[in-house]
Amino acid sequence: MRYVKWTLWAIIASLIFGFLHYTLPQHDIVRIVGTENRRIDFGENSIFWASPDVGTAAGGNRDVFFIQTVQPNGKPMVYRNEDTGWGWPPYFKLDSSNTQTEAQSLVSSAENPKWVAITHYGWRNEFFTIFPNAVAVKQVESPDVTIIPWVNIVLLVLLVLVGLMIRRMWLQFRERTIDPALEDVSETWDAVDAKADAAREQARGFLGRIGAWLDSWKKKPPRR
């Protein structure tokens, strides 16, 4: 039973962690090597893609901007660049075309690299063909700059505060509403119980007397 409980908690914790890891913004420092725009037919992976540009019609497929980059360690990283519009996640990104232009203007070669901090959310996964969504691009001095994730700090602190608040509200509700109601129920139950006891007592009073009278006809245990 203990293993079941811990497995359940582990699953819940990893779901929450995965959700936050996917949704919260992260910064990568990369070198942009190219940008492109290609048509995507969304299939099983459609949940990992955002929405059509704000104001444009939705369909089964559409053109999506991509930003191809190389990380400081030489490995490739490809970002998509889509509007999130007014949907989830709530980045309210409307300017994917502008972001694409900024990315294009920062394209650089390996010999003369321009390092760029890309703010993004989402995951790159080859099995599902999904890409992180680039939210903003900004040129930085070198691949070693430290970026303090203020947005994440603020959001996670807020999330913890909301959790504590919900806990306190629940405790208050229990103390003020559920416990008194339960007390009422148990008082009512006690009253019912007392009534039943009294009735049983009464019944025993009558039947008990008959029983005692019958018992008096039984053979008495031999006296020794």
Binding site: G85, W86, K93, L94, D95, N98, M169, Q172
Partner: protein, 89 residues
Amino acid sequence: MIFGWIRLWVFALVGMTVVYFLIGIYWRSLHREELEKRFDAGGIPGDRTAYIESGMASYEKGLKKRLLWLIYILPTIAFVAVVYILNFQ
């Protein structure tokens, strides 16, 4: 665009209204409990129920009750700020 915008605000308003009422109930409950404890500590003349009800009536008109509107105002400010910073800066 209009459809997505309306959908966002319908959901946001429903969510914010739920939070508004939940926190409203919570704060009211806290205030009532405090009044009860203050009366039960002794030294206050008069009827217990009347004392609590008058305290609750002044709470309903007080500043704290009005601060609850921040539940609608703060997310709206955050929304405008995010749209501006992410798209127009």
